[in-house]
Symmetry: C2
Subunit: 238 residues, 2 copies
C-alpha cells in the first residue's frame, strides 16, 4: 500500500506539468531607483485582455512603490486603433515618435499575430530594436509569434496560447515551447499564455522588480490572491 | 472520531462563505432568438479591467452562438474618455444618442464611483432608466454604488469591491451586501466584486443565456477553466 503511494507520488512529480523551477523564490527585488517605462505595442485587432492585464498591473505600481512604472500605448501610427473586440483606442505614441526609452516592452496578441503581423516590417523592426534596449520583454498569448519573428526568442524557452503551442514550435524550431504553464521566464523575456492568465506574468515581473509585498498589494486591488508559488510557471532565470 | 468529523463538516457548512445557493445548476439556458446588446457605461476614470472583462466575455459570444451579443461603449458625451490607468477611448455612443435598446446594462467602477459620480445626474438617470428596460444589469466592483444610487438595488442582495463592502452597506442600509463572494445574482441584477473576478460574473450570465458549453468555450479562449460550481457566488435567482 505504502509502495503504491510512493509510486504515485513519483509519477505525479515526473509526469506533472512544469512547476516553478525556482519554487517560488525569486531572490531580492531589483528596486529600480527611477521611474520605469512600460510600452504596450498595439496594432489593429489587438486583444483587449492581453493589452489591459499587463497595463493595469504595471500602472498600479505607482500607488505601491516610490516611483513605479509609467505605461504608454505605442502603435504603428497615431491613428485610432480598433481592438479585436471593437474598442477604439488613441495611442500615446507612434513608432516614429521620439518616445522615452523603454524599460519593459510588452507585446499583446492581435487578430493577425500568427499571420499578417509577422510580415509587418515596421512592427517587427520596432519590436526587435526596442527589445534589445529594454530590461524585459513580455509577450501575451500569440505575441510570442511576433517576438520569435523579431529574432528575440532564438533558442529560448517560451510559451503561447495553449491551442497555438504546436504552431509556434513548428514555425520556429529553435524554440523550446512549454505547455500547461501560465508563463515562461527565460533571460530577459517573459512569455505568457495570455487571456486572464496575463495578470500572472505581469505580477511576477512586479515581484522581480519591486518585491513580493508590492505584487500582493497590486493583486489585492485587482481581486487576485497573488502567490507565485501557486502559479504554474517555468523559469530558467531570475 | 466520527463525531468530530461530523461537527467539523457542519461547522464548515455553517461558517464557510456563501456558496452557490443553487449549487451550480442554472436550469435551461434562455437561448435568445435575436442578437442582444450589451452597453458598457463609462465615465472618466473608469477602471480598465472592470470594463474589459465583461466586454471580452460578451463580445466573444458572436463566435460561439448563433447571433451572440453586440457590445458598445456608452459615455456621457462623445468626447474621449481617459481610463483610470490612462487609456484613451472613443465611446460608440453618448447618453443623448439614439442608441439601440439595451439588453444588458454594464456598469464598471471608476475613480469616483463612491463620490462625485453619485452626484452626476446624467449618469444616474441614464443607469436608472436603462436598467428598467434591460433584461440584466451588471455592476463590477464599485459600480454597485452607482446602481444603488440609481435605486436599482433597493432591498436586494449584492456585493462590491471587498474593501468597500462596509461603506456600501452603510450608505445604502436596505441592501444585503455579501462578503467573500465573486458575484451576487438577485433578480435581474448581477453585482461582481470586480478586478480579475469580473470574468466570473460575465461568464455566469453567458451560461444563463447561452448554456454551459458556450461559457466554457469562451472561458477557454480567455484561458479560464470555467466551472460555475467552483466559483463562490450567492444567487437568489436563476
Amino acid at each position: 500500500m505504502k509502495g503504491i503511494f510512493i509510486i504515485l507520488i513519483t509519477w505525479a512529480i515526473s509526469c506533472g506539468p512544469d512547476r516553478n523551477q525556482y519554487t517560488g523564490e525569486v531572490g531580492p527585488p531589483v528596486l529600480p531607483d527611477r521611474k520605469l517605462h512600460a510600452a504596450l505595442v498595439v496594432v489593429d485587432g489587438v486583444y483587449n485582455t492581453e493589452l489591459i492585464a499587463p497595463m493595469d498591473v504595471f500602472q498600479h505600481t505607482v500607488f505601491h512603490t516610490g516611483q513605479g512604472i509609467y505605461v504608454s500605448v505605442v502603435a504603428p501610427t497615431r491613428d485610432t486603433v480598433v481592438t479585436f473586440e471593437g474598442l477604439r483606442l488613441i495611442p500615446d505614441f507612434s513608432f516614429a515618435d521620439s518616445l522615452p526609452p523603454i524599460d519593459i516592452l510588452v507585446v499583446p496578441s492581435a487578430r493577425n499575430s500568427m499571420s499578417d503581423d509577422l510580415n509587418n516590417q515596421a512592427l517587427i523592426s520596432f519590436v526587435s530594436e526596442r527589445s534589445r534596449q529594454a530590461l524585459y520583454t513580455v509577450s501575451l498569448c500569440d505575441g510570442a509569434f511576433v517576438l520569435a519573428q523579431a529574432g528575440i526568442l532564438h533558442g529560448m524557452a517560451c510559451t503561447t496560447f495553449p491551442a497555438d503551442v504546436a504552431a509556434l514550435a513548428q514555425r520556429f524550431p529553435s524554440l523550446s515551447v512549454h505547455r500547461e504553464v501560465s508563463f515562461v521566464h527565460d533571460r530577459h523575456v517573459i512569455t505568457s499564455v495570455g487571456g486572464a492568465r496575463s495578470y500572472d506574468a505581469a505580477l511576477y515581473l512586479v515581484e522581480l522588480l519591486y518585491g513580493r509585498e508590492t505584487a500582493v498589494k497590486i493583486g489585492k486591488g485587482l481581486v487576485i490572491d497573488w502567490d507565485l508559488a501557486s502559479v504554474n510557471a517555468y523559469r530558467t532565470a531570475r
